[in-house]
């Protein structure tokens, strides 16, 4: 499976394994992940709950050292958070600084980027506008609803104008309509700015609608179970695309994969054929 397209490889994950030693027993969150993202690609990542998506994202972001394997970004190995990468965390509430207003939260990374005041103001205004929170720029995060907090986190990421954007279930807390708007927003930004996006979601429709590819992770021991190319036209639209026949097909395929990932002992990064059901698999993350 080669998806590099015309661009070079942006992100290269090789044989990634992560074992948590924290608790009483060691937990192998990810067993062996190998995949790569071309520059400017938009890839969605789906997989059963607890299969290690967040772990993977944190390893890619350089926030955690993998137990073994490597992550390379634009050819250089990642050991610390690389510049020009933005992350939207699953725990959106805790990733906002309670002591800063919404505006300050969005502006802070820009300050670190040493942008001029005017440019910062512009970016902040634009991104807050994009997520529909202009009126709440001066509120504190804890004065916002869950979905609004999540949108602040998104605004912060897009205002940052990153080259690589990692998003961990970024639309989990917003309503259907807003979600659709934000999906379109992400695609617009992606197309306009050529940013490489790795997008974790549980919503299969969303994964297919958004991505150029969908990576399906198995349940643990976690490997890449499938890598599905989404051959829909680049120009997508909430109404027509979702009614497209190919969309429905892809959707069904991903759904089947996930179901299988959840039920089966996804052992090899293989196609959707060779799986034997094993109900206890979900419980098998703990390695002794």
């Amino acid at each position: 499976m080669n998806h590099q397209g015309e661009h070079g490889t942006m992100l290269k994950v090789t044989g990634l394994q992560k074992v948590y030693h924290g608790g009483a027993a060691d937990v192998e969150a990810v067993r062996d992940l190998t995949f790569d993202l071309a520059e400017g690609e938009l890839v969605c990542l789906v997989g059963p709950s607890g299969c290690g998506k967040t772990t993977l994202l944190k390893c890619i972001a350089g926030l955690m050292p993998p137990t073994s394997g490597t992550v390379e970004l634009a050819g250089r190995p990642v050991t610390a958070p690389p510049p020009d990468m933005a992350v939207v965390f699953q725990e959106y509430g805790r990733s906002l600084f309670a002591w800063m207003t919404v505006r300050a939260n969005v502006e802070l990374p820009l300050k670190e980027k040493k942008l001029t005041r005017a440019r910062r103001a512009e970016l902040v205004a634009e991104s807050l506008e994009a997520v529909g929170l202009t009126a709440f720029a001066d509120a504190y995060p804890w004065q916002l609803s869950g979905g609004m907090q999540q949108r602040v986190a998104i605004a912060r990421a897009i205002a940052y104008e990153p080259q690589v954007l990692l998003m961990d279930e970024p639309f989990a807390a917003v309503d259907a309509q807003t979600r659709a708007d934000l999906e379109d927003l992400i695609r617009t930004i992606w197309r306009r700015m050529g940013v490489t996006v790795l997008f974790v979601t549980h919503d299969i429709d969303e994964a297919v609608y958004l991505g150029e590819r969908v990576l399906v992770l198995s349940s643990s021991p976690t490997v890449v179970q499938d890598d599905i190319t989404v051959d829909l036209p680049a120009e997508r639209d909430q109404l027509t695309t979702r009614q497209d026949e190919r969309f429905t097909e892809l959707r069904a395929r991903v759904y089947a994969e996930i179901q299988q990932a959840k039920n089966g002992a996804g052992s090899t990064p293989a196609g959707p054929d060779d799986h034997a059901g094993d109900g206890a698999a979900q419980a098998s993350t703990a390695v002794h």
């Binding site: 350089g62 958070p81 990468m85 992350v87 725990e91 002591w99 802070l108 202009t134 940052y160």
Partner: protein, 282 residues
């Protein structure tokens, strides 16, 4: 209810009747309650000697002591003493604060180096300032610097330990967010670690403010540099019980005033914190 909810900037005064109620409570109610507390204490104090639980000769009733304090407060000497005490207090606290914050943040961020200092810190902390008095006098004589040495030594540890605990309390998700957005070490300290530590630091400052006062007075008491402490020493060795208590009351009052100051500061800088905002909302 055909509300014009179209424009957010539309002046739409919401339930204005409710707004004034809170400031009124917050602004007036609390000090009132505090005054009740103080009055209760004074009442108890008045009653104990009057009822003969302890002899009035050794614990004069509150009214007598307040009267004595009133008389004293009209003399300029008293206010010079207060000034001297506060000078030692403020300077000592400032030095301790700066040193503790700088060191606390530095070592808090460098756990490896900190591991080497723990034993020494634990060893030095329990050494009483009071026992350092001869050394202080030897080094700096009886002037302000001696007092400062004692104040700084005692207060430093308080703030330092609080800062260390505060630094350890940073929310990992917030910290990771900052790191992933490329915030450097200094920026992280400023925007993430500092705000998280603030509540701890505030407690440290409140603790240290009182300890600084205590030590600046104790130093004056023992070394004899000018200030309330020396006044207490003189009154004590003269057997002037009422004066002693009057000065103690003055000290306590200083403590209350200082605390009010810190609380006001806290309400400003910790507006966002659960402990402060919890009281404002809901």
């Amino acid at each position: 209810m055909t509300a014009t909810s179209t424009d957010s900037r539309a002046p739409d005064p919401p339930a204005p009747a409710r707004s004034p109620r809170r400031p009124a409570r917050a602004g007036l109610g609390r000090p009132l309650l505090g005054a009740v507390g103080i009055l209760a204490l004074l009442g108890l104090w008045e009653a104990v000697p009057r009822l003969g639980v302890v002899s009035a000769r050794y614990l004069p009733p509150a009214t007598d002591v307040l009267a004595a304090l009133g008389v004293r407060a009209t003399t300029p000497g008293f206010w010079t003493a207060v000034g001297d005490t506060l000078a030692g207090w403020a300077l000592g606290l400032a030095i301790a604060f700066t040193a503790a914050v700088v060191l606390g943040f530095t070592l808090g961020a460098l756990p490896r180096i900190r591991a080497y200092t723990n034993s020494t810190v634990d060893f030095l902390r329990p050494i009483p300032s009071v026992a350092l008095i001869p050394l202080a006098v030897l080094l700096y004589g009886t002037d302000l610097r001696s007092t400062l040495l004692l104040v700084v030594y005692a207060c430093f540890w308080l703030i330092y330990i609080q800062v260390l605990y505060g630094v350890a309390d940073v929310d990992p998700v917030a910290e990771q967010t900052a790191r992933s957005y490329g915030l450097g070490r200094l920026a992280r300290v400023r925007y993430v670690v500092w705000p998280t530590t603030l509540p701890y630091l505030m407690t440290g400052v409140r603790l240290a403010a009182a300890v600084a006062l205590i030590l600046s007075i104790t130093a004056q008491l023992v070394i004899g540099s000018p200030g309330i402490g020396r006044e207490i020493a003189v009154a004590q060795s003269s057997g002037a019980v009422e004066s002693v208590y009057a000065l103690i009351v003055a000290t306590g009052a200083l403590g209350v005033v200082i605390n009010i100051g810190v609380r006001v500061l806290e309400r400003r800088v910790l507006r966002w914190h659960t402990s402060v905002r919890g009281e404002a909302t809901a």
